[in-house]
């Protein structure tokens, strides 16, 4: 009994203490965008709008994968703020929840949002978590659109789950096709993360397609979250096998280490990444000369000169002090896609979650959407997006179209 008493007392104490700290923090001007972004957003105007759709966003805001989750909720927040400030009849109220990129926590976050009265889910961010939630969403009949849950498992057999990003196989074949077309004689080495669904998924289809196209894969190197600090063995292996193209179906954070260590070894193949590589140029203090000549397939480029991208990047930088990556763009698009679907289906905010879901599911395949991450995006009834992947090459620290 005594222990429980202590526990409760300690809890009360901390709660009191932290609420005090928390309120002090918010009253001060934000010094670090990323840190206080959530707070300022919470007190933003989006909460009190009458007749707004209740939108939930889920992603890892803490832990290893916080980079991606924070980008997603920030991107969604910008879209929501924009929409609410516009004269659109569709308004949103956004609630952002942390899932630590964990299936169990993600389901908790989803249930928490359902308690809040969420009508549409934008999320979860990571494939594993998205798959876990998707099954629940399917039985509950809630409309779900994941910005970045790219595994086919997320949408498989679930008619009310849609993706904004490419599916993993799509990226794998896309990359192999591109290489086959433009650099057919390359000796390819692959380094991928084999405890990550995203990375492994792309690698599997890449290898399959590469074989079909007659590409030569000379070696493959793998790593896990636990061995992601040192790539010299994989690089030495690739170098000694004479690989001149290094395919990296991984996220930009480990990729930046690979670029650094390859550079230190004096190994300079062509690096070829997929959408996870996007963001490498925005990495704080990253020596962009290391990324010179890196090619990647990405649906989004923060350096694009169209108005939509420029506007988004400017707003994001102002609010969060960082250049947005593809995750933020996907989430931004996701909110606008939801808006477009709502308008197409003629939903109103007083409809029930399941009614909205059925209406949106019917409306999605009829949509054509132009956004940050692609032109003329359309959806199949399965939930898969069809958009053209864009290959870019990094030159002088910016994305340019390859010649």
């Amino acid at each position: 009994m005594k222990k429980i008493l202590c526990l409760l007392l300690a809890m009360t104490m901390t709660f009191g203490c932290l609420t005090a700290c928390g309120s002090k923090d918010t009253s001060e001007p934000a010094t670090d965008g990323a840190a206080t972004g959530g707070d300022t957003a919470d007190t933003g105007s989006s909460e009190t709008i009458e007749g707004a759709f209740k939108l939930g966003a889920v992603g890892p805001l803490t832990g290893d994968a916080a980079i991606y989750g924070q980008a997603v909720v920030n991107g969604a927040q910008i879209a929501v703020d924009e929409i609410n400030a516009s004269d659109s009849t569709v308004k949103f109220e956004l609630n952002k929840q942390d899932d630590e990129a964990d299936g169990e926590k993600s389901k908790n976050a989803y249930n928490n949002l359902m308690d809040w009265g969420m009508q549409i889910l934008v999320g979860p961010t990571t494939s594993g978590a998205a798959t876990a939630v998707a099954a629940q969403v399917y039985t509950d009949r809630t409309f779900m659109i994941t910005p970045s849950g790219s595994s086919t498992d997320v949408i498989d057999g679930k008619d009310n789950v849609f993706q904004v990003c490419f599916t993993d196989p799509n990226q794998g074949t896309g990359a192999a096709d591109y290489i086959a077309e433009n650099m057919p004689d390359s000796k390819i080495a692959i380094i991928y993360r084999n405890d990550d669904a995203y990375s492994q998924g792309i690698r599997d289809t890449f290898v399959e397609e590469a074989e079909a196209k007659g590409l030569e894969v000379v070696t493959e190197g793998t790593f896990t979250a636990d061995t992601a600090t040192d790539f010299t063995v994989q690089l030495t292996d690739a170098q000694s096998k004479g690989a001149d193209l290094l395919f990296l179906p991984i996220y930009y954070q480990p990729a930046s280490i690979i670029l650094n260590q390859a550079n230190a070894m004096g190994y300079a193949p062509t690096f070829f990444g997929v959408d996870g590589m996007d963001g490498i140029l925005t990495l704080e203090n990253f020596d962009t000369s290391l990324a010179e000549g890196v090619m990647l397939l990405t649906p989004f480029s923060a350096d694009a000169t169209d108005d939509l991208t420029k506007n988004f990047v400017a707003k994001y930088q102002e609010a969060y002090g960082e250049v947005p990556n593809q995750f933020a763009a996907d989430a931004y698009d996701a909110v606008y896609i939801v808006k477009a679907a709502i308008e197409a289906a003629g939903c109103t905010a007083d409809m029930s979650t399941t009614d909205i879901c059925e209406a949106l599911v019917a409306a999605m395949p009829t949509l054509t959407y132009n956004g940050l991450t692609g032109q003329n995006m359309t959806w199949q009834a399965t939930g898969e997006v069809s958009k053209a992947p864009m290959a870019v090459v990094i030159k002088d620290g910016v994305y340019t179209l390859p010649n």
Partner: protein, 360 residues
Amino acid sequence: MKINLRNKRTRTDFLTYAGVIIAFVVMTILQKEGAISRSLSGQLVPICAYVTMAISLNLTVGILGELSLGHAGFMSVGAFSGIIAAMSLQSAIPSDGVRLAVAMVLGAFFAAIAGFLVGTPVLRLRGDYLAIVTLAFGEIIKELVNCLLVGYDENGLHMMFNLNGQKTVADLGLTENGIEIIKGAQGATSTTTISTFTAGFILVMVTLIVVLNLIRSRSGRAIMALRDNRIAAESVGINITKYKLMAFVTSAALAGASGALYGLNMASLQATKFNFNTSILVLVFVVLGGLGNIWGSIIAATLLTVLPEMLRSFAEFRMLVYAIVLILVMLATNNPTFKLFFERIRTRFFKKPAKEVRGK
């Protein structure tokens, strides 16, 4: 067989059972009435799984007195073997409940085998060295499951070990009706979720019966004797290895059953879920609940599973608050000054000085 409630231990056991049953009945009624939030009702099965984990780890850490930092490894073995069993028996056993039971038994069985394989050599080590080896074991299990490809079709179970990363599920050669159960790093992503709160409750009760009855039997006494004084235990003829192994394997088996329950509650599950952090999480339940204190484990596991959810209003400060709560609770329960402080509050408000047999 009359229950002697005057015996303090029997009374505690009885109250533990009663508490769990009452909690189950109350939650079930509330759930039927729709009086509890989705957030809480969604956590009921994980809570049952964690409670089982905490009780079973308490058997190793609290009762046997050996620090284990790899308990999640056994949960992993149980979870994935349970998933394989449940998925491949879908047509053979149409009833979800029976299939879940079979999956949990198999999960327990395979985890017990893992426990035996690990325990036999490892239990010869002591203290922190044993702890690091259990940690190592947990990591090894994680990596092995990451390389596992399993599918099922009418020709039976297909299993493959992806040692060099070159193989995919396609290499399993499944027929068209085949189901991909575990896809290496992608994990189990097409699991049909069949776990229920009732099943979780039954598992917790079975765990309680196994652990409490074990503790109150000659085997349990032998295990506690090892913890209190290994040399004296040997001198009165207690076979150290046998009883260490008994506790360790039982603990692993229960963790396996808990893993099967947990795994069959998740549509998507990756081996990385059962990493060092999960082992530590369960260890925190055990230490906070009190070493050797079974009902303490139950309450700590429940509270600490719900706590992060209750902290959602703190947004990104959530895990920071969790960390601070954890430290403060450890200080509050273990520091003499704090203890005295709480004792005083207690005597002031409850006017009843603490009655405890104090050792020297």
